[in-house]
């Protein structure tokens, strides 16, 4: 049976207590609901190495593996904390959408996979020789992305894998999310996010969330604009409260229709309309519209594999070629540019032309703003 929202929230939170401490009592104290179902005092602490490379690397606690008892006998719990690390700033930022082949051969984010690979051998070692029926993988923020890739990696164990993430960024491209969703089963993935949390919105297309094409638990975050507080695990724990999964608001996946995207973009691009500066809804719609337009143009994984600064150039060329493909797409791309500028508190003239240089300019600005907002959310999360 799956963990409840309150259980998984306190489990995600408790992983932070082991960052600098090896005292399992301290971790168990932070998880009063869980310590009756899992032997937290006998848990194995997981460590991870982060940093800019030797000699600047630093190894700290990243979470734990614990074993169920009583009704949860035979079940395993893996909890991973979020992090901030200088070398991983890129994971949410402008140009670094760099992907690599992940555990199942699909393109995943290189930074997340690098972090997951430092933890995976420890999890495997803890599992060795055990008779395990179910593995619960829980994580907040980057910890959610790592837990996602661990779930992918542990498919060979033959156990039931259940994934719970809070405010996690997208770990892999669409094909990866689709593969993982099929492998784990939609009912074994519990993704919770706040509507004003930026982190789950990034990296942008072609990265996608698992469960792919399915539901997620969309909680009302504090305020209406993008908020760093909306990313905090404490805020997530408060949002889910003591409700069961069935009581949480569900957002059914919208694969996006041309009509919906057109209506929204037209409204957002209207310079005489209400301000959308830093609006969480606006950013979500801008990124969704970008996803939708790129899907129409028909490019995906290639974009992720590019990585580096070339991504903005490639994106600009793609959108430019899309604008040449059809008048309808050209109109939407123009509105997308206008909406993106309005989100940043700027306006553009109605007569502007879509050129590669202009699209580059807008996306460079937009990704810089996203980068700044994302860093505000994640920076110092764990120094």
């Amino acid at each position: 049976m799956e963990l409840s929202p309150a259980d998984s929230a306190e489990i995600a939170s408790s992983a932070y207590t082991l960052r600098d401490s090896t005292d399992m009592r301290r971790m168990a104290a932070a998880a009063p609901l869980t310590r009756h179902a899992f032997r937290l005092l006998d848990a194995t602490r997981l460590t991870g190495t982060t940093g800019l490379g030797a000699p600047l690397n630093r190894t700290t606690g990243f979470g734990y593996v614990a074993w169920g008892e009583g009704a949860r006998q035979g079940e395993c719990l893996v909890s991973i904390r979020g992090t901030f690390m200088p070398s991983a700033c890129d994971w949410m930022t402008n140009a670094r959408l760099g992907g690599v082949n992940g555990p199942s051969g699909f393109c995943v984010h290189s930074g997340f996979w690098a972090a997951a690979q430092t933890i995976l051998p420890q999890v495997r070692s803890a599992l060795r020789g055990r008779n395990v029926s179910t593995i619960h993988l829980v994580g907040h923020s980057l910890g959610g992305a790592i837990a996602t890739l661990l779930a992918d990696s542990l498919g060979d164990t033959g156990c039931r894998l259940i994934l719970y993430t809070f405010g996690a960024p997208r770990a892999g491209v669409g094909q990866h999310a689709e593969y993982l969703t099929n492998k784990l089963g939609t009912n074994n993935i519990f993704r919770v996010y706040h509507d004003t949390d930026l982190v789950p919105m990034v990296p942008v297309y072609p990265y996608c969330h698992a469960p792919y094409g399915s539901r997620a638990y969309a909680m009302k975050g504090p305020g209406k604009v993008i908020s760093a507080a909306a990313h905090s695990m404490t805020t997530y724990a408060h949002s889910v409260g003591s409700l069961g999964w069935i009581g949480l608001p569900i957002r059914e996946a919208s694969l996006g229709s041309l009509e919906a995207a057109q209506v929204w973009l037209a409204a957002a691009a209207d310079v005489s309309g209400p301000s959308i500066m830093l609006s969480a809804t606006a950013l979500r719609m801008i990124l969704s519209s970008l996803d939708w337009i790129l899907k129409q143009i028909g490019h995906g994984v290639g974009l992720a594999l590019l990585g580096g600064a070339t991504i903005v150039d490639r994106l600009a060329h793609l959108l430019y070629s899309g604008a040449l493909q059809s008048i309808k797409l050209a109109g939407m791309i123009r509105q997308l540019m206008s909406a993106a500028m309005r989100f940043m508190g700027r306006t553009i003239t109605a007569t502007m032309n879509i050129t590669v240089a202009f699209v580059q300019y807008v996306f460079d600005l937009l990704f810089r703003v996203i980068s700044r907002l994302a860093l505000r959310a994640a920076e110092l999360m764990v120094r």
Binding site: S13, Y16, T17, R19, D20, S21, D23, R25, R26, A28, A29, A30, P32, R35, R81, G82, F84, H140, S141, A228, A229, H231, S232, M233, T234, R376, A377, A378, E379, L380, M381, V382, R383
Partner: protein, 131 residues
């Protein structure tokens, strides 16, 4: 919330040290605190004739930390030393800068019975119980 509000690292503590139900005088109580990996100065107190002790609030000017939210990891420990023996009184990790977040908004009034085995209560561990 702003630059000039403070971050509460340890809410004020009032407590009483007992042994087999009787007040313990001159027990030494040590309050240790770490914000991430930064160790803060240790605070010390002695219990009075009725076993009572208290620690003032430990706080820090918010500065940019308030407007650059993050996941606080504040490691709190209270150790009681009496008659040459150490007792783990309070082990807790505070994950919020709010006052009294240790006990979900309730003031930290603790009863620390030296003859009690340390155990979990809510989100803390030790011989002290919230009263």
């Amino acid at each position: 919330m702003g630059l000039f509000t403070s971050l509460v690292l340890f809410s004020p503590v009032s407590g009483v040290v007992l042994k087999d139900g009787a007040p313990v005088e001159e027990a030494e109580i040590r309050q240790e605190l770490r914000l991430f990996d930064e160790k803060l100065p240790v605070q010390r107190a002695l219990s009075d004739s009725s076993g009572r002790f208290h620690f003032a609030i430990v706080e820090r000017r918010a500065g940019l930390s308030r407007i650059v939210p993050h996941e606080p990891v504040i490691t709190q420990t209270i150790i009681i030393t009496y008659a040459g023996k150490e007792y783990e009184a309070w082990i807790h990790t505070k994950n919020s800068y709010e006052l009294n977040s240790e006990l979900d908004g309730h003031p930290l009034r603790l009863q620390c019975e030296l003859s009690r085995e340390p155990d979990f209560e809510g989100k803390h561990y030790g011989i002290c119980k919230a009263v």
